[in-house]
């Protein structure tokens, strides 16, 4: 276990370093960050002055080493936009994103697993078909369409919920549904497929033949094995929810989370803030993957990680 943790930590370190390096390359090297920062009509002397002040006139390798050595201690420089350290600004919206992400994943798993199990036990039945079609719908609806549609139906037309914002439970409903749609669809599909696979395995037949009650076979053996891929998918979906889907959902519903911060940082071309936000997201992704690995061991003691 300790070796695993150590190995993982080294892994994570390289992964995060790679992410930060890519951000450096794309934003500092490709394109002129100073030109992007200043208004179009800024005189050349002022552009030069900025370049010098911010060290953009130094060789790229020197800039890179300097940048990375600061990044390792969490110093991404001051946000060009707010003129205060970028990392605290990037961390500020994290709780709001987790709030939404955890809620959406709870909704997706608590509905998706039972539906998937039920559909998997009766493949071909009307209930199974309904579940399959609905989950396909959830998987294939693009968020950029789904979010405005939800707002249009429930806020503009029916007037039941606010269109956007943060502050009451009503504000959480639409973004949660939008965020949960995709993971829900995938979880239903994977659970169903996994249950179907497990049910025809030899050990089920053996257990049944030995007279073990069906319910015990299902809950203690089948479900336990079938849930392994479900955990993988759920974990992966959670990563996507927190680091990907939220960019659209938070922008549309005015939710003050990390995705929205990333969107803003790109739009206002705030390079240090963008780098800090990418770093925060990378750390979150690594942490979630870590948690999934540990969950694996708990669910399936066969996995030892040599």
């Amino acid at each position: 276990m300790l070796r695993l943790l150590l190995k993982r930590a080294v892994h994570s370190f390289f992964l995060i370093t790679a992410v930060v390096s890519v951000v450096f390359l794309t934003t500092f090297v490709i394109g002129d960050p100073v030109r992007a920062l200043l208004p179009a009509e800024t005189p050349e002397e002022i552009v030069e002055k900025y370049r010098e002040e911010r060290g953009f006139n130094r060789p790229v390798l020197v800039q890179y080493i300097d940048y990375m050595s600061h990044a390792f201690v969490g110093d991404f420089g001051d946000s060009w936009w707010q003129r205060t350290p970028a990392l605290p600004i990037a961390l500020r919206p994290l709780p709001a994103t987790f709030q939404l992400g955890i809620l959406a994943m709870t909704l997706a798993t608590s509905l998706g697993i039972p539906i998937g199990v039920y559909a998997g036990m009766k493949p071909g039945s009307w209930a199974d078909r309904l579940a399959t079609v609905t989950s396909l719908l959830g998987v294939s609806m693009p968020l950029i369409w789904l979010c405005p549609m939800l707002a249009f139906i429930f806020a503009v037309t029916l007037g039941l919920l606010p269109t956007a914002g943060y502050g009451s439970w009503q504000h959480m409903v639409l973004p949660t549904i939008a965020l949960a749609a995709l993971p829900l669809g995938r979880i239903v599909q994977i659970t169903r497929a996994s249950i179907i696979d497990e049910l025809v395995k030899q050990y089920v037949t053996t257990a049944r033949a030995k007279g073990l009650p069906y319910r015990r076979v299902l809950v203690q053996h089948v479900l336990r094995n079938a849930l392994l891929p479900v955990i993988t998918v759920s974990g992966w979906e959670f990563v996507l929810v927190v680091s990907g889907y939220t960019i659209i959902v938070e922008a549309v519903f005015g939710w003050p989370g990390v995705g929205w911060m990333l969107f803003s940082a790109i739009r206002i071309r705030d390079v240090p803030l963008l780098a800090a936000t990418a770093f925060v997201i990378a750390v979150v992704v690594v942490a979630i993957n870590f948690a999934i690995d540990i969950l694996y061991i708990i669910v399936n003691p066969l996995i030892r990680y040599e």
Binding site: E41, T42, R92
Partner: protein
């Protein structure tokens, strides 16, 4: 052994078991929603609007509320309700006394201003000569690195004459100092020095509103200053919400969750409850080069290009009819120096062709660089212009570039021989022809690609002319000359677009400032 088929038949979860599973799912769902509710219980719901609370939406969080550091539209929508300038503008954009009651030019580089008495900052500090001197000197201090420096950079320093009088000294003769002072917010010296860096997140002005709460990334809340020197405002509180998406702002104004926002998309106009579209000092143009190396140095070619473009059609089809055709100059009523005697170039394809023939420029190849993604609908707009130029008989090499590369082509420091045509929108926040003329009628700025000896001489005279009538005459002449030797295809004067709910009474100002005290619900 049980066959597969038999097994499947049996392998059905009983209804009771299914119900149990679902109940477990539902239970955990209830727990999370409960948790969510508790987490959020500390903030009040915001989607029901009170009678005297105005809700505005902006697309991004303000970077700072220091009115002297940041020159950006979004923070200004907040700060000009809290802080005030020495000189303000009336609805037409002309300078009027504000925190300064009167002024006189005492020599070429010094203006003396008499301050209004009996005004205090929100924290009780008095507004007097010390405060005004401090504020002027603070904004030009390189230490602050103010974004306003392009506007107020001509100011050297301020000094106190007596308790209610100050002198402002400029580096050079500055005929448009009054206009510059409208950009200079008055701050309280004691408070500003005391709060230090907090000046970006707290406020203390003389204005009709005070900051009551800034919920980061969510909204900024203002409350009325009941002791405001101009009388308490009718709207008692205002919320400026941060909503990044165009379509969400649009839907929120339809449901009445927000009352006003700047810049709805033209597509959304027909469905808005109400909107205002005042003309702004913003001009779309295709900059034409006559500098060395240019293929269109002959003024007749540039005139022909002006005749060849159907501005009216573009206005109706691509700008939803909002705006007006530029009157043969990069200026319009409301800008000092505007020449009322000039008319727009009419759309006249035959005239364009004959001018090109005269100049021997039929089939001439011209480079055209336009932005893609810098202005709404810019790609299609530039394609339309290029197409019209081709119809007149030019061969246009159209290059639509991402905004960063596009800027590089406009900057002579990076592209020494400028492209013949370069599309942009020019905005003049100073309301004075000097700003526009220096940028596009001379080669003063790296972003201009034009030179005309006579205009250059006039421009230099205008810079140091303090006599208002004389100065106006100079610019009249500049624009007249510029119509005959065009520095651009004069396209359109554009609008500032505001989306409103029915209940919101709002009269936009010429300078585009968002002043809540002048509004009502």
């Amino acid at each position: 052994m049980v066959s597969k088929r038999e097994f499947k038949r049996k392998a059905v979860l009983s209804r009771r078991e299914f119900l149990k599973l679902s109940a477990a799912g539902g239970g955990s769902l209830a727990v999370t929603s409960g948790l969510g509710g508790i987490l959020l219980a500390r903030t009040a719901p915001v989607f029901a609007q009170g009678d005297s609370n105005l809700v505005a939406a902006v697309g991004a969080e303000p970077p700072s509320l220091d009115p002297q550091a940041i020159e950006q539209r979004i923070p200004q929508m907040i700060t000009w309700n809290i802080y005030e300038p020495l000189i303000d503008r009336d609805e037409q954009g002309l300078p009027i006394p504000w925190l300064a009651e009167s002024w006189e030019q005492i020599d070429d580089t010094t203006m003396r201003l008499k301050l209004r008495e009996g005004i205090s900052f929100h924290n009780g500090e008095a507004f007097n000569a010390d405060a005004a001197v401090y504020s002027v000197n603070r904004i030009v201090d390189p230490e602050l690195a103010s974004q306003w420096i392009g506007v107020v950079g001509t100011i050297k320093q301020a000094s106190k004459v007596d308790d209610m009088t100050i002198d402002i000294e400029t580096h050079d003769v500055d005929p448009i100092l009054l206009g510059r002072l409208t950009a200079l917010a008055m701050m309280a010296p004691g408070w500003t020095q005391e709060v230090g860096d907090e000046v970006s997140s707290t406020t203390n002005g003389t204005g009709a509103y005070k900051l009551s709460n800034w919920h980061r990334n969510v909204q900024v809340e203002l409350e009325s200053n009941e002791d405001y020197w101009g009388g308490a405002p009718s709207i008692k509180s205002a919320t400026i919400r941060i909503i990044g998406e165009d379509s969400t702002r649009f839907q929120s104004v339809k449901t009445g969750e927000i009352d006003i926002y700047l810049g709805p998309l033209p597509d959304h106009l027909p469905e808005l409850p109400k909107f205002e579209a005042p003309l702004a000092q913003e001009f779309s143009m295709v900059r034409l080069s006559n500098l060395e190396g240019s293929r269109i140095g002959d003024p007749r070619v540039r005139q022909a290009m002006n005749y060849a473009v159907d501005k009216e059609l573009i206005l109706q089809q691509l700008h939803a009819g909002l705006g007006t055709v530029s009157p043969g100059q990069l200026s319009a009523p409301g800008m000092f120096g505007y020449n009322p005697n000039l008319a727009p170039y009419p759309y006249d394809l035959d005239r364009a062709k004959s001018l090109l023939a005269e100049a021997g420029a039929e089939g001439l190849e011209v480079d055209y660089v336009g932005p893609k993604g810098r202005y709404a609908g810019d790609a299609i707009l530039n394609q339309a212009i290029a197409e019209m130029l081709e119809q007149a008989g030019l061969k246009v090499n159209l290059n639509l570039l991402d905004p960063q590369s596009w800027v590089r082509f406009g900057d002579r420091n990076q592209t020494p021989v400028p492209p013949s045509c370069w599309y942009l929108v020019h905005s003049n926040s100073l309301f004075d022809a000097d700003r526009t003329v220096s940028s596009y009628y001379t080669d003063e700025s790296p972003f201009s690609a034009y030179h005309n000896d006579e205009i250059r001489t006039l421009f230099e005279a205008g810079r140091v002319e303090l006599d208002v009538a004389e100065r106006e005459k100079i610019y009249h002449r500049v624009f007249e000359l510029g119509r005959e030797d065009p520095p651009a295809i004069f396209m359109l004067q554009l609008v500032d677009l505001w989306a409103l709910t029915e209940r919101t009474q709002f009269k936009p100002r010429a300078d585009g400032r968002f002043i809540i005290r002048t509004m009502s619900l």
